[in-house]
């Protein structure tokens, strides 16, 4: 079969909503796009542990501490499934992690913003997880099977996190004046970066068309962003807070809320590494990896010794134990 025929067959499967599985033939660009996207997603989960992990030691009650710790741990678990999903496409976890540390691979820019107060834990849950979920719900139907299945599991946990985040803001919004101010301030700081999570405008997005055709994505950046704005405008009313955008206004003709222009200059600056915490986040990941090197080496050396002692014929001796 010629490559052309294989490509037609592949597209036909996509069009018929048949999932692509690891051993199926796929165009090299499809493989690469999926590796890029899934590993980027995995890195986002892992780097995303840092801004929230920052508040575990200072959580204001034992219950909140338990909720936050469990949430950050869930993110580690999501990173793990996603690395495994990406590995099915032929790239090892180690290679992916090296790409993260060298700066070659990206992760969601949202995690390059600092978590300055406790209210940021709620704002991240509500806005950041809320934005992520819209993207992830779409990805539950993505064409690559292992990615779609990982997302189904992840989505369940993420919607739980979002509810917890909103609930924690709700408590602040009914609290003391200081707590209310803390809540509004966190919403003000996280609103615009959350809108940026959907990526560049459709007119500027380089990967969108092909990804839509291959059903890696099923909605465009702008469609998802609009859906998010429409949702949050309603939810913020329950908090008695406001969103920091004077241009927000219901547009009867479109059936959607209009909203102000994102500061694209800031967006590209953070993508290029100049966000407030880009350096700290990567430094923290590299440091953990470097400081863990002796541990990984010891574990590997011990596993070798054990293998040798269980297989004396292969040069080892049977351990006394």
């Amino acid at each position: 079969m010629s490559v052309h025929d294989l490509e037609n067959l592949f597209q036909q499967k996509i069009d018929e909503e048949v999932k692509i599985e690891p051993k199926d033939w796929m165009p090299e660009a499809y493989r690469k796009t999926n590796i890029r996207q899934i590993s980027q997603h995995a890195h986002s989960e892992i780097v995303g542990m840092l801004p929230e992990g920052n508040w575990i030691s200072r959580a204001p009650s034992l219950k909140r501490k338990a909720i936050l710790m469990a949430k950050v741990q869930d993110e580690a678990g999501h990173g793990l499934y996603l690395y495994c999903a990406a590995e099915t496409l032929g790239m090892s976890r180690e290679e992916m992690i090296n790409d993260l540390h060298s700066g070659k691979a990206k992760y969601s820019s949202i995690f390059n913003y600092p978590t300055l107060t406790w209210a940021d834990m709620g704002a991240i849950g509500w806005l950041v997880d809320g934005a992520a979920i819209l993207n992830q719900v779409m990805l539950c139907r993505t064409s690559y099977g292992p990615y779609a299945r990982a997302m189904v599991r992840i989505c369940k946990e993420e919607s739980f996190h979002q509810r917890q985040g909103f609930e924690s803001l709700l408590v602040l919004s009914k609290g003391t004046d200081e707590q209310k101010a803390m809540c509004q301030d966190a919403i003000n700081r996280w609103w615009w970066p959350s809108l940026m999570m959907f990526g560049p405008k459709d007119s500027e997005s380089t990967n969108s068309d092909q990804s839509m055709k291959w059903k890696i994505k099923r909605k465009t950046n702008d469609e998802l962003r609009q859906q998010f704005v429409d949702m949050c405008v309603e939810q913020v009313k329950l908090l008695g807070m406001t969103l920091p955008d004077p241009a927000l206004k219901w547009n009867e003709a479109r059936g959607h809320y209009d909203f102000g222009e994102i500061d694209w200059n800031e967006f590209w600056n953070v993508v290029k590494g100049n966000g407030p915490c880009n350096k700290q986040r990567l430094d923290a990941r590299r440091k953990a990896h470097e400081e863990g090197r002796w541990v990984r080496e010891a574990a590997a050396a011990h596993a070798e010794k054990r293998k040798a002692s269980l297989n004396p014929s292969k040069g080892g001796t049977l351990a006394a134990a």
Partner: protein
């Protein structure tokens, strides 16, 4: 809770102050170790192990909440799990010194976890048989978790002790750092004696178990090391003040706020 206070009323009324102090000792010890372990969250050497240590941290936090809730019920003065954890001072905390020490490297965290979990398992097995029904119930639930903590941490001690030259040397250094804090585990405070805890019996089995793991890890068991103590009576290392400063920051800054 009703049945417990009845039971204690009828059997051992003079114990009440000791029962509360002992419960707080158990609560503080598990909370502070949870707090220390949680510092690894997001910074572990391997993703799977990052998840494992956070899991242990969560288990310990859950145990501490059970103990604090029981202590609050014993106090019966409007105290809550949060007022006991967030509004008591350095001199009131009764945790073991071992659990408040800095994490050090992964080997130090792991070794501490093993030394503690092995002790906790034996202690909780005793509590399970004890006359305080509430402590027995908490212990029974926790033993399932602790059994896993012992397995996980002992496997790591063996891996690191019998891994590379570097890991072996690091473990030797770690033993040197931690050992002087293990004696306190077995020196009975007045509230432990009053509660009938037999620490001598635990000490004997603990030493056998630890020796077996150290043997497999090719690590030496130190002999005749001076014992640092005081935690059980509220005399701590300089570390505890910093831990509480972070832990209690929001409750202290915004008194009375609900979170």
């Amino acid at each position: 809770m009703e049945s417990i206070s009845k039971k204690s009323d009828s059997k051992v009324p003079p114990l009440e102050g000791f029962r509360e102090a002992y419960t707080l000792h158990l609560a503080d010890t598990t909370l502070i170790l949870s707090q220390r372990n949680s510092e690894w969250c997001g910074h572990g050497p391997i993703l799977e192990q990052d998840i494992a240590i956070t899991n242990i941290s969560l288990d310990l936090l859950g145990q501490s909440r059970n103990f604090y809730q029981y202590a609050a019920a014993l106090k019966n003065d409007g105290s809550t799990e949060d007022s006991l954890a967030y509004l008591r001072t350095e001199r009131e905390f009764k945790n073991l010194l071992l659990v408040e020490l800095e994490n050090g490297d992964w080997g130090q965290t792991i070794l501490r976890q093993y030394l503690f979990s092995q002790y906790q398992l034996l202690l909780f097995q005793q509590l399970q048989q004890g006359s305080d029904e509430q402590l027995a119930a908490i212990a029974t639930k926790a033993i399932k978790e602790i059994t896993y903590h012992v397995r996980w941490s002992s496997e790591w001690v063996i891996r690191l002790g019998d891994g590379t030259d570097e890991s072996h040397n690091r473990m030797l250094h770690t033993i040197d750092e931690l050992w002087r804090y293990t004696g306190e585990l077995f020196e009975a405070a007045d509230y432990e004696t009053a509660m009938g805890i037999d620490l001598a019996a635990i000490n004997q089995i603990w030493t056998e178990k630890v020796t077996a793991v150290f043997d497999e890890a090719k690590l030496p068991v130190p002999q005749n090391v001076f014992v640092q103590k005081g935690g059980k009576h509220g005399i701590h290392t300089e570390q505890l003040g910093y831990i509480l400063t972070e832990l209690q920051y929001l409750q202290r800054t915004y008194p009375g706020a609900k979170w």
